[in-house]
Symmetry: C2
Subunit: 223 residues, 2 copies
DNA sequence: AAAATTCTGTCAGCTAGCCGACATTTTTAT
DNA sequence: ATAAAAATGTCGGCTAGCTGACAGAATTTT
């Protein structure tokens, strides 16, 4: 079972010694963004690596017809490099550090072992996007939604025996772009689960009552 | 417009000085495979990096229900690292060099600048798989087929003014797994184009007569 | 506190393209 | 050369899930 964008290998700098980090990153420009603000586009700023200091940003693809697909969500400490045809948007008030690739390259020179970290992070990203492909190609929307819900539950702090209180912080529309579906379909998915008694929908939160059912349905098909 | 798996950044070793390459790779095990042979699976051999010496191999995902999706095709000189949940299969008689990650790591130690190459190749792979995601999410099957055909034409050697002679080397079924569709749909796609007079189907080759039409229809929608 | 915007909820209709199923042709193996 | 297997063609049915459309609720802005 996969994780639809949890905190895997985006923590590029977290394992570097503090003095190095301060040396290189303290000079970098940091900017604040309000919810919904556009942080980067496919062309602009491709000379930077972005580090989320606080808040949450959504990295997404956009097609000329207006449709969008969210590749990943970045939380505090996470990193993203432009160079792909992706957009970045704050979905909560956020602070972002802009690291020029130049600086990055220098760091890589001074600390050669850092290369292994970079390679690791890239590898994780790659694995992650292959998981996304797998999900899109093989699994139908409902399964993807169950898996999304499942991983959401797992990453939620507060958890009792069978009952989870999950905070979402995402609109149905946003969930739709994560899962590759539509607002309406997401909506009916959740409402059906409520009618079924599997969960209770609250304001920006969900109380999962029958976690085992969700887990069961999130399992990949067949053998 | 994207390239559905052309020869971008899979040439990991092609820019290294020859003596280094021989030093590290001459000891490595090389194996021959016949068409259709399974070269690697998701678990096994994850301790190797694969280098295609000759032939062509297909890297693909397989779902328990039997469906498959081809991530990329590897030709001579191309490289792939296990570590993802992918399978590898020879689609022509092939020869593959197995490089233990250990050896790889040593090489990385001796030639630190090699790290940049690795990072580049990984970046390309990542970009490539994001293109695949984009394609799957936003574009309908016909568009994907036109784009596949388009890039096939571009990568074909022999080309006159408007007429291309394209060798495919793939069955409809295989094309289907590349493009994320079914055998039947691929079949009707090509036959319709033939009826339309855009191309002529030959045995394991296609003669494209109206390349501009294909190019036009391969263009992304809208703006 | 009023107005405007953004979300949620629901429903009917439509269609891309998947899924058998089967016949024919081509390729490969014996 | 013959048999077996694989690859092409073609067709009708079926359905997941997208689309638009509209109403009400909840936020946000003024």
């Amino acid at each position: 079972m996969r994780n639809l964008g949890g905190p895997q290998g985006k923590q590029l700098f977290s394992r570097l010694p503090v003095p190095i980090v301060t040396k290189y990153l303290s000079h970098c420009l940091t900017k604040k963004y309000k919810k919904k603000a556009e942080i980067f586009g496919p062309e602009e700023h491709s000379e930077y690596i972005y580090l989320v200091v606080s808040g949450r940003i959504r990295v997404y693809l956009r097609y000329p017809n207006g449709k969008e697909f969210t590749l990943t969500l970045l939380d505090a400490g996470d990193t993203y490099s432009g160079h792909t045809r992706a957009f970045g948007q704050a979905i909560a008030d956020s602070e972002v550090l802009f690291i020029p690739v130049e600086t990055f390259r220098n760091l890589l020179m001074e600390v050669p072992s850092f290369a292994m970290t970079v390679i690791g992070v890239l590898g994780d990203s790659l694995r992650n996007s292959i998981n996304t492909i797998e999900s899109l190609v093989f699994k139908e929307v409902n399964k993807r939604l169950y898996q999304f819900l499942y991983s959401l539950a797992l990453s939620s702090d507060r958890q009792e025996l069978h009952s989870f209180r999950v905070t979402i912080g995402l609109t149905h529309q946003q969930i739709a772009t994560i899962v590759g579906s539509t607002r309406q379909t997401v909506n009916t998915f959740f409402n059906n689960l409520q009618k079924e008694g599997v969960l209770i929908l609250g304001k920006d939160k969900i109380i999962i009552q029958k976690f085992d059912i969700i887990m069961e349905r999130a399992k990949d098909d067949d053998e």
